[in-house]
């Protein structure tokens, strides 16, 4: 039976999961494309924005976007363009959506990753420690703080941080993205912390619950009864608790990517979030489509990454393999 757990199967596992991800994204892209039609009003008018169109202009738009073709034909053309990197032109700014997104994606990704790292480095160890000393003053204090962290709206936390650390003590810049490089990272610290607080509270709770759940398992009692040192017991528990933490950690990252919007607005950062907020108000459909598609792709790829990590760290999943 052990031989079934060989290395060769990881490659296959990744291929199959990747294929499933592509199928999922195609289905999503179909829905995204349909946005054009789901938005109220005539698609041609929507594409023109709030200008008052002449009948000739409308006809020109219809021709340019092939709006009179059957829906499926339009979709196939659109997805073909998307795959080639052409996401259309922004209605508001009249530049290609791809170049509009390019810088902003980097900023948003930096922000999300920074917040994610802060979350992991702080929340996971706190969660482990709180579970290990469940009921102690430490546990109760951090648990209470996490309830506040989950409940507090991120813009409120952001404003508070801005006021305290930015304005009052002037430790961090309060506005914008700085001059690139390290200065940009420095500018992102406060927004990242703001994001990390809500998410971190969630990850803390997840970690605490996972470790507590493992601590109640028979194998922990059995390990102690056999005289394993507390350090050895801890390693045993953490290795087991890692599995639920990784699974939920991935979801949290995907959620983070979406959660940047409010924070970007609060800190006036030119990221995806700011762009989306403006584009929705303006009914800039090609941009909204592009951002939705991008977010969906990030989420799907994160889920894929979680699956692959779970596959490598959980022998039971490995044995079950592909079904």
């Amino acid at each position: 039976m052990a031989s079934r757990l060989g290395r060769g199967t990881l490659g296959r596992f990744v291929m199959v999961r990747l294929a499933a991800t592509v199928v999922l994204l195609l289905a999503l892209s179909f829905v995204v494309f349909a946005l054009l039609y789901l938005a109220p009003g005539d698609p041609a008018r929507n594409l023109l924005g709030p200008r008052n169109p002449s009948p000739e202009l409308l006809a020109a738009i219809r021709a340019e976007y092939h709006l009179d073709d059957p829906f499926v034909t339009q979709y196939v053309r659109w997805i073909g363009d998307v795959v080639r990197g052409d996401l259309g032109t922004s209605i508001r700014s009249e530049i290609a959506v791809t170049s509009l997104l390019a810088d902003r994606v980097v900023l948003t990704a930096e922000l999300a990753i920074m917040a994610f790292v802060i979350t992991l480095v702080v929340a996971v160890p706190l969660g482990v420690r709180a579970a290990w000393r469940a009921g102690s003053v430490f546990d109760r204090t951090v648990s209470l703080a996490s309830i506040v962290g989950v409940g507090a709206p991120s813009y409120a936390v952001g404003l508070l941080l801005l006021y305290l650390l930015g304005v009052r003590f002037q430790l961090f810049p309060v506005y914008g993205i700085g001059d690139g490089g390290l200065d940009q990272l420095w500018h992102l610290v406060l927004p990242a912390v703001t994001l990390a607080i809500g998410i971190g509270a969630l990850v803390f709770k997840l970690t605490r619950t996972a470790v507590l759940g493992e601590l109640e398992q028979d194998y922990v009692a059995f390990a102690r009864a056999r005289g394993l040192s507390e350090g050895a017991v801890r390693r045993l528990v953490l290795r087991n608790a890692l599995i639920p933490v990784v699974t939920s950690g991935g979801l949290v990252f995907a959620f983070l990517f979406g959660g940047t919007i409010l924070v970007e607005v609060t800190f006036a950062l030119p990221g995806i979030g700011g762009l989306l907020a403006g584009s929705v108000t303006f009914k800039d459909i090609p941009v909204v489509q592009a951002i939705t598609l991008l977010t969906a792709t990030v989420i799907a790829l994160t889920a894929l990454a979680v699956d692959i990590v779970t596959y490598t760290i959980d022998p039971r999943v490995r044995a079950r393999g592909l079904r």
Binding site: M1, A2, G135, Q217, D218, Y219, A221, F222, A223, R224, A225, R226, G227, L228, A232, L236, R239, N240, I243, I313, D314, P315, R316, A319
Partner: protein, 570 residues
């Protein structure tokens, strides 16, 4: 010989009061001490107190001396760190959860080995060989092994630090009978080789009878009797020991009525002054209800002790009047009620079928058993019969064309999950009566039929003991007047003394209502007390069938022989 483990004045105290009260115990090197008792009697808490594993909110008092070193039990895990693992080790009940699922077996055994780093692999191999496992198990994960193999790995892990005392908390209860015997034989061999003492905690009197040199009987947190195994079980002095022994169903013969202890096991802290057993004791008098007896009464040589004001004497204890039923005949019933032919069911393509060409007949008013080990397909068969599961192939023919509710009803293993906690007993039974087109006002009669007080109709399931809940579940099942009552492990979650009551009830109902019974059980002795005819299942097939009397006396199939030979203590 001096005891290697000696516990004196052990108390285990929980948030609601004492869980174990004043227990003393001792075991000598190489010997086996069994602690027997029903659920809630405090057996596991005793084991946990001795290994410093008590849950939070529970603490212990008293002292334990291991190999001459005396330790204060009140110190908990910290005080016991010196002996835990190294001198006293624990083996748990469930081999499916007692090993870490994401670590390979080898490192789990190696964790407490006291050898140099480069000798670990060789030593693990030697330890695996000691428990009769091949070398390759070291690199396997627990989920890749069967229950019996896992328990061997757990045993090797327990013994890695070469303890002087092994405490086994129901170490084989989760295993099938055939595997159970193998594991206990293995422990006995290792005990001989290592001179290790074994504290065997079990609810199974048969296991204690077969394996222990000495037995301690616990009831509601008290030690009620102590003595060498054969004497204690041969001539019990304490009425509870006698009751426990007599309610344990025999395999060799079928009793007209199993002796049982009335009532149910109380919680340790829920008892008034006096003897804990008084509410269930036939010999109880005024003194018993006021003064609590201690484990003081001893016989001449002081080896036996009991906590009772009116102990049984030799004669009274030895005599249990039993009426044996007349032997039943072999062969198919004259009036078939339901016939299953060539049934096949497979859940997964990579697993063997749950049902593989199974044919059975149940006649009107007949009691039929389906016995077999875990995973043999018994439950699947029952579910198919009830129409809860479909067959891939095969037929189920009912002789009478009646509505489904009046054809067959089922009683499950766990009564607490089978009853709706929000519904009163009366409402649940009324609903069942209506389902079978009966008069819903018959609830009181139904309660009387299953031996429950009529006012119970107003209660909710939570206010009933496990045995009482199972009576309600049975009442609900017989309410629509079904032709056949299917019971899937109806007593396996119940205490022995309560199990006997339920088995008697099933026999009575069958006589009074003319019901047919289909009893599904892994416990041959339980089947023996209820059924006339039996089907033995193994890996989805019926390997042998016939009159129970015949199978007990002369099993034909190799598997049936092994199954019957594995039953402990008979």
């Amino acid at each position: 010989m001096n005891p290697v483990l000696e516990v004196s004045g052990l108390w285990v105290i929980g948030p609601n009061g004492p869980i174990v009260s004043h227990a003393d115990l001792a075991v000598e090197p190489g010997r086996t001490l069994a602690i027997v008792g029903e659920s809630g009697s405090g057996k596991s808490m005793t084991a946990k107190a001795l290994t410093g594993l008590l849950p939070s909110g529970v603490h212990a008092e008293g002292t334990v001396a291991v190999d001459g070193t005396s330790l204060d039990l009140a110190g908990g895990a910290r005080a016991l760190a010196a002996v835990r693992g190294r001198r006293v080790s624990l083996l748990l009940q469930n081999p499916f959860t007692s090993l870490s699922p994401v670590h390979r077996c080898g490192p789990q055994i190696a964790a407490t080995l006291a050898v140099a780093r480069d000798e670990v692999d060789d030593e693990v191999r030697r330890r695996l060989a000691e428990v009769d496992l091949p070398e390759r198990v070291a690199s396997m994960y627990p989920f890749e092994l069967s229950g019996g193999m896992r328990q061997r790995v757990a045993l090797a892990a327990s013994l890695a630090s070469d303890p002087l005392v092994l405490i086994g908390d129901e170490p084989t209860t989760a295993l099938d009978v055939t595997t159970q015997r193998e594991v206990l034989d293995l422990v006995a061999r290792l005990q001989r080789e290592r001179g290790m003492a074994f504290v065997l905690i079990t609810h199974d009197l048969g296991v204690a009878r077969e394996r222990a040199d000495e037995v301690l009987v616990m009831y509601a947190g008290r030690l009620v009797e102590r003595g060498p195994t054969a004497e204690l079980l041969g001539t019990p002095r304490h009425p509870y020991t006698a009751g426990l022994r007599d309610s344990d169903p025999p395999l060799v013969e079928r009793l007209e009525r199993l002796p049982s202890i009335p009532g149910s096991v109380p919680r340790a802290w829920e008892h008034p002054a006096g003897c804990v057993f008084a509410p269930r004791c036939e010999r109880a008098d005024e003194r018993c209800r006021v003064d609590e007896p201690t484990l003081g009464g001893t016989d001449a040589d002081g080896i036996r002790a009991w906590a009772c004001w009116h102990p049984l004497d030799d004669r009274a204890a030895g005599v249990v009047v039993v009426t044996r039923t007349s032997p039943t005949d072999e062969g198919a019933p004259t009036r078939p009620l339901v016939t299953v032919g060539g049934a096949r069911r497979r859940f997964r393509h990579d697993a063997p079928p749950a049902l593989d060409d199974v044919s059975i007949v149940v006649g009107a008013g007949e009691a039929v058993g389906v016995v077999g080990e875990s995973g043999s397909g018994k439950t699947t068969l029952a579910r198919c019969l009830l129409g809860l599961e479909r067959l891939d192939e095969g037929t189920i023919e009912w002789a009478a064309d009646r509505p489904r509710a009046t054809r067959a009803q089922i009683v499950f293993q766990d009564p607490s999950s089978a009853l709706n906690p929000a519904m009163t007993i009366g409402a649940a039974l009324g609903e069942a009566l209506r389902a079978g087109g009966q008069d819903p006002s018959a609830v009181p009669r139904l309660l009387e039929l299953v031996g429950l007080p009529v006012p119970y109709a107003k209660r909710r399931p939570r206010a009933l003991s496990g045995g009482e809940q199972q009576r309600v579940a049975i009442a609900r099942a017989v309410a629509p007047r079904p032709d056949v009552l299917v019971c899937d492990e109806p007593v396996s979650s119940l205490d022995v003394s309560v199990q006997a009551q339920i088995l008697n009830l099933l026999n009575e109902l069958r006589r009074e209502l003319g019901l047919a019974l289909l009893l599904i059980t892994h416990d041959l002795a339980v089947a023996r007390q209820v059924v006339d005819r039996v089907y033995v299942m193994h890996r989805g097939r019926v390997v042998e069938s016939g009159a129970m009397d015949r199978l007990v006396a002369a099993p034909q199939h190799e598997y049936t022989q092994r199954l019957f030979a594995s039953v402990a203590g008979r």
